[in-house]
C-alpha cells in the first residue's frame, strides 16, 4: 500500500495521508486534482470498485469534505480520496462518467447538502425529500429539533433518557 501512495504522491500533490486500519487509507488531494486521482487509481492501480461518495460538513472552517471511497478487489484494500470544497456556493465536478452509480450519490448530496454537480444526470429530481422548501437538512446550520417542533406535532411532555445511565440506574442502583 505504501508503494501505491508513494507512486500517487509523485503524480499528484497529496496533502495528508491517514491510515485508518490495516486495510483502509485516506489521502487528501486538492480539488482540481480530485477526479484525476480517482481516474488514475481506477485505471492504473486497479481500484476498480467504487464504494461510496460521502460528505461531511466542517462548518467552523467553512468547508465541505467529500470522500470518494475506492476498493481494490484483489488486494482487499480501501482507499479514500478526500477533497475539501468551499461551503459557500458549493460546487464539484461531476464524476458520473467514471461509475454510473455516482450520479445517484450526487443527487443525494445535492438534496442533503446543496452541493451542485453540473451536468450530472437527473441531479435536481427529488430523491428522498419531495417538495423540500428549507435549507438542505444535512447542513449543520439546519436545526432539526426546531423544524420538527414547528412541523410534526411533537407529543407534549415527551422526554428522553440516555440509555446507558438510565439502565444503570434501573438495573444496578447500588453501583
Amino acid at each position: 500500500m505504501q508503494e501505491i501512495i508513494e507512486r500517487i504522491s509523485k503524480v499528484f500533490s497529496v496533502e495528508e495521508v491517514v491510515q485508518q486500519n490495516n486495510h483502509q487509507w485516506f489521502i487528501t488531494v486538492p480539488k482540481k486534482q480530485a477526479l484525476e486521482s480517482v481516474t488514475y487509481l481506477r485505471d492504473r492501480e486497479g481500484f476498480v470498485h467504487f464504494v461510496l461518495l460521502s460528505c461531511a460538513d466542517w462548518i467552523e472552517s467553512g468547508k465541505f469534505q467529500l470522500t470518494y471511497l475506492l476498493n481494490h478487489p484483489v488486494k482487499k484494500i480501501d482507499l479514500g480520496i478526500r477533497v475539501f470544497i468551499d461551503r459557500e456556493n458549493a460546487e464539484m465536478e461531476s464524476a458520473h462518467y467514471l461509475w454510473e452509480q455516482i450520479a445517484t450519490y450526487q443527487r443525494e448530496l445535492y438534496e442533503m447538502f446543496g452541493i451542485n454537480f453540473p451536468n450530472s444526470p437527473r441531479l435536481t429530481d427529488p430523491l428522498l425529500l419531495e417538495g423540500w422548501d428549507n435549507i438542505p437538512p444535512m447542513r449543520r446550520d439546519f436545526d432539526t429539533l426546531k423544524y420538527v417542533e414547528k412541523t410534526y406535532f411533537p407529543t407534549p411532555g415527551r422526554k428522553s433518557n440516555d440509555p446507558g445511565t438510565y439502565m444503570k440506574e434501573k438495573l444496578y442502583p447500588n453501583e
Partner: protein
C-alpha cells in the same frame, strides 16, 4: 429549484392520439379519480345483523402488504409456521382495494406518508389502521428527525397501537386479538371518523406534504 417534469403526466390533462389517428383528451383528475369527499357510512340499524357482520369482519382481517420502516420485517414472520397468523383469520392482500387493515409498521417518512395515505384512502369502508412501534406514537428515536412524522393519529385515524421498538410478532398477534375485540364490540368505526373530520386530516397532511401533486380524493 426543483424539476417536477417527471410527475406532471400524473395529474395534468393531455391529448393522446389513438392508433386510428383520433385525438382523445385525457384528464386524469376527472377520469381516474373521484371528485367527492369521502362519505360517512352509518352501520346497519339492525343491531343483531350488524354484530354478525362485525364478527365476520373481525374474523377475516385482510392486511395490505405495505411495509414501512423496520416493522415490515416483523410482519413477515407472522405468516411462517412459528407464528402462523392465518389461523386467526389474518391474511395478506396485495391490493388496497381488497384489504381492510393497513399496518403502519414503524417510522413514517413524509415521502412514505404520501403513499400510505393514498393506499389508505383506496381501501373500502370499514377499514382499520394498526400502528406499530413507538415511532408511530410519539416519534420514538426519530423524534427530532427532519423527515419522519411524530404522531400518526394526526394524519390517519388509528385503531390499535402496539408499543415496543420493535414489537415482537407475538405482540402483533396480541394486537390483532385486540383489534378483533374492538371490531366485535362495534368500535371499529374509524373510517367514518376519518370521513367526518376529513378537513382536519387533510390540513395536517398538506402541512407536511409540500408538493401535493395528487388529487385530494384518491379513490
Amino acid at each position: 429549484m426543483e424539476n417536477k417534469d417527471f410527475i406532471k403526466p400524473y395529474y395534468e390533462s393531455k391529448i393522446v392520439e389513438s392508433p386510428d389517428g383520433e385525438e382523445i383528451k385525457v384528464n386524469p383528475l376527472e377520469d381516474y379519480f373521484c371528485g367527492e369527499a369521502p362519505k360517512s357510512h352509518a352501520p346497519n340499524s339492525n343491531k343483531l345483523w350488524e354484530s354478525f357482520l362485525n364478527w365476520a369482519r373481525a374474523e377475516s382481517l385482510w392486511v395490505l402488504g405495505f411495509g414501512t420502516g423496520c416493522g415490515s420485517m416483523e410482519i413477515l414472520p407472522l405468516m411462517t409456521p412459528r407464528f402462523d397468523a392465518y389461523r386467526f383469520g389474518v391474511q395478506m392482500r396485495p391490493t388496497p382495494r381488497q384489504s381492510n387493515v393497513i399496518i403502519i409498521s414503524g417510522y413514517l417518512s413524509v415521502k412514505t406518508l404520501k403513499r400510505a395515505i393514498r393506499s389508505y384512502e383506496q381501501m373500502q369502508n370499514p377499514k382499520y389502521v394498526m400502528a406499530l412501534g413507538s415511532c408511530t406514537i410519539n416519534g420514538g428515536m426519530y423524534y427530532d428527525s427532519y423527515n419522519t412524522i411524530n404522531r400518526l393519529d394526526h394524519y390517519m385515524p388509528v385503531d390499535v397501537y402496539i408499543t415496543g421498538c420493535m414489537p415482537r410478532p407475538e405482540a402483533l398477534l396480541a394486537g390483532f386479538e385486540e383489534m378483533k375485540r374492538l371490531i366485535k364490540a362495534g368500535k371499529g368505526e374509524k373510517a367514518n371518523e376519518y370521513a367526518e373530520n376529513f378537513e382536519w386530516y387533510k390540513a395536517n397532511q398538506k402541512k407536511i406534504i409540500k408538493d401535493w401533486n395528487m388529487p385530494d380524493y384518491n379513490w
